[in-house]
């Protein structure tokens, strides 16, 4: 099970991965912005659901919603 960003979807599809969750996020922030625990969890839960639901190779699902910067965990 792979989680990758939308920018890389064409490359991931070309690799014929078994299952992939595609996130509409920025490079280097695959699961969401720093500190945005809710969004990160949303992505991981969606990935776990895809593990259970995918029935054939090349099953790609896009995570709805958008990247939300500003909930910074920087100390």
């Amino acid at each position: 099970m792979t989680i990758g960003i939308r920018a890389f979807r064409p490359r991931l599809e070309g690799m014929t991965l078994p299952r992939a969750l595609i996130t509409p996020h920025l490079m280097g922030r695959t699961l969401g912005a720093p500190g945005d625990r809710d969004r990160q969890r949303e992505a991981v839960v969606a990935a776990l659901e895809l593990i259970e639901e995918a029935e054939q190779p090349g099953t790609f699902v896009e995570l709805p919603g958008a990247y939300r910067a500003g909930r910074d965990a920087r100390g």
């Binding site: 920018a7 509409p24 920025l26 969401g32 990160q40 259970e52």
Partner: protein
């Protein structure tokens, strides 16, 4: 302007963000764009910045960068296959053992993989050594899940690591997976997670390292691997 100052072309300017004088890995994609498109990126960025000055809706800047990253990285790349594997889940996830692996370049403080024998390599040095990295075998770091943030380091010459430094869970979601294990969503999270610098020899990853890691996961009786390429 002094006659001694070298005139910089727009092409040189846009390429300077990709391992050049103005390296910023968020914008390294500019080097691959035609001048016309790179100019459009800057023009629209500044126009939107002007709007942000009035309404504070800085999300439009985030959206702008996101849209251009999607545009710039479009294309299948060179690793394409006609067919791919698929193994159905053999038991419920709530009874499965899951392992986390990311190509984020994280490692535990005190367990630096010391690429090329260099001690305490900085992020800046990693960026400067990118060519060496992409010709080299990847080095896998073992990271106990739940390792406190202050004990986790990240270093990777291929992407902007500031987000991953601030919050490892943006690309290495070990804490989230621990939460989900506690909630019973996952049967068991493997106590060792793994990370490596994905900017490595892809051929060696495919032919040697990858198969070795799969064998390791099989020996550890891993049912599911969650992969986060960065």
């Amino acid at each position: 302007m002094s006659d001694d100052v070298k005139q910089e072309s727009f092409d040189e300017f846009k390429c300077s963000f990709a391992y050049g004088s103005r390296t910023d890995l968020n914008f390294k994609f500019l080097a691959g764009l035609p001048d016309r498109e790179a100019a459009e990126f800057f023009r629209d960025l500044l126009w939107k910045l002007g709007d942000v000055l009035d309404d504070g809706q800085f999300e439009r800047l985030v959206d702008h960068v996101y849209e251009w990253q999607v545009h710039a990285y479009a294309g299948e790349g060179k690793w394409t296959y006609a067919n791919g594997p698929f193994t159905p889940l053999r038991k419920p996830l709530s009874e499965s053992r899951l392992v986390l692996m990311s190509s984020s370049g994280h490692f535990v403080e005190g367990d630096d993989p010391e690429p090329f024998g260099i001690q305490n390599m900085s992020q800046e040095e990693a960026v400067k050594n990118m060519l060496k990295f992409i010709r080299s075998e990847p080095m896998l770091s073992r990271i106990p899940v739940g390792t406190p943030k202050e004990n986790l380091k990240v270093r990777h010459g291929g992407y902007d690591i500031r987000g991953a430094q601030a919050d490892p869970n943006v690309v290495f979601p070990h804490e989230l997976l621990l939460d989900l294990e506690r909630e019973g969503r996952i049967g068991e999270l493997a106590r060792d997670a793994y990370s490596f610098v994905g900017a490595c020899s892809q051929r060696r990853l495919l032919k040697r390292s990858g198969p070795e890691w799969v064998k390791m996961f099989q020996e550890k009786q891993i049912d599911v691997a969650l992969l986060v390429p960065v």
